[in-house]
Amino acid sequence: MAHVAFFAIAAIAVASALGLIVRPNAIHGALFLVVNLGSVAALYLMLGAEFLAAAQVIVYAGAIMVLFVFAIMVLIPGKEETGPDPRRGARLAAVPVGALLLLLLVFVVVGRWSGPRGPVAAPSGSAGALGRLLFTNYLFPFELTSVLLLAAMVGVLLLARRRA
């Protein structure tokens, strides 16, 4: 049962990722990316990471994608990729290179970890457990994140200011 669910969700994720990079219209790409992020959130749930699944939907599929769609609307979608591609050959060479990268990743990363699972208990991904970890072991990086977000906010304000 879990296998069926996994393969169904994985098929949706791969298909939507391919849709993102194939469709010429950027808005379609953004919608495909929302589908992809949602299916990865479902996989987080299957892995027992409930808090991350919720955060994925709220932060990625919600906030970040709204920003993307907004930017696409502002920047006149699809207009920039209409002409013939002057570097078509070089760009299409990316496909076999990407396939090679995939083979390498599967061989090196997956091949090493495909053995039987050790006798470890699955951790609880609840908001309580993760919050306790973030505010103990990861307290300093957590505080640094707030500085990073503040810096990003100030930087965006500076960039968005209309120059005289």
Partner: protein
């Protein structure tokens, strides 16, 4: 119970698709979305590894990646909008100098 290696394999597939997307597209917004796809694939691998080794640290890292991705998207989109304002065009082939 689905083995964790399946999740890592799916993560590798999504990451490779993201890499190809970054290279074959000319629209900086789509390139940016492909980068999000790659970050997301890496997150999936982190969660799967954390599950396999029975600790929560993988999920904590994913939390930080999400925060950094949010900041990155905000700054990156602001830069793209600014470039569009100055250039009136939006193709990565035109962007070969750091100043204008």
């Amino acid at each position: 119970m689905v083995p964790e290696s399946y999740y890592v394999t799916l993560s590798a597939v999504l990451f490779s698709i993201g890499v190809v997307g970054v290279v074959i597209r000319r629209n900086p917004l789509v390139i940016f979305m492909s980068i999000e796809l790659m970050l997301n694939a890496a997150n999936l691998a982190f969660v799967a590894f954390g599950q396999r080794f029975g600790n929560l640290d993988g999920q904590a890292v994913v939390f930080f990646v999400m925060a950094v991705a949010a900041a990155e998207v905000a700054v990156g989109l602001a830069i793209i909008v600014t470039i569009f304002r100055v250039r009136r065009r939006l193709s990565v082939d035109d962007l070969s100098v750091m100043r204008w």
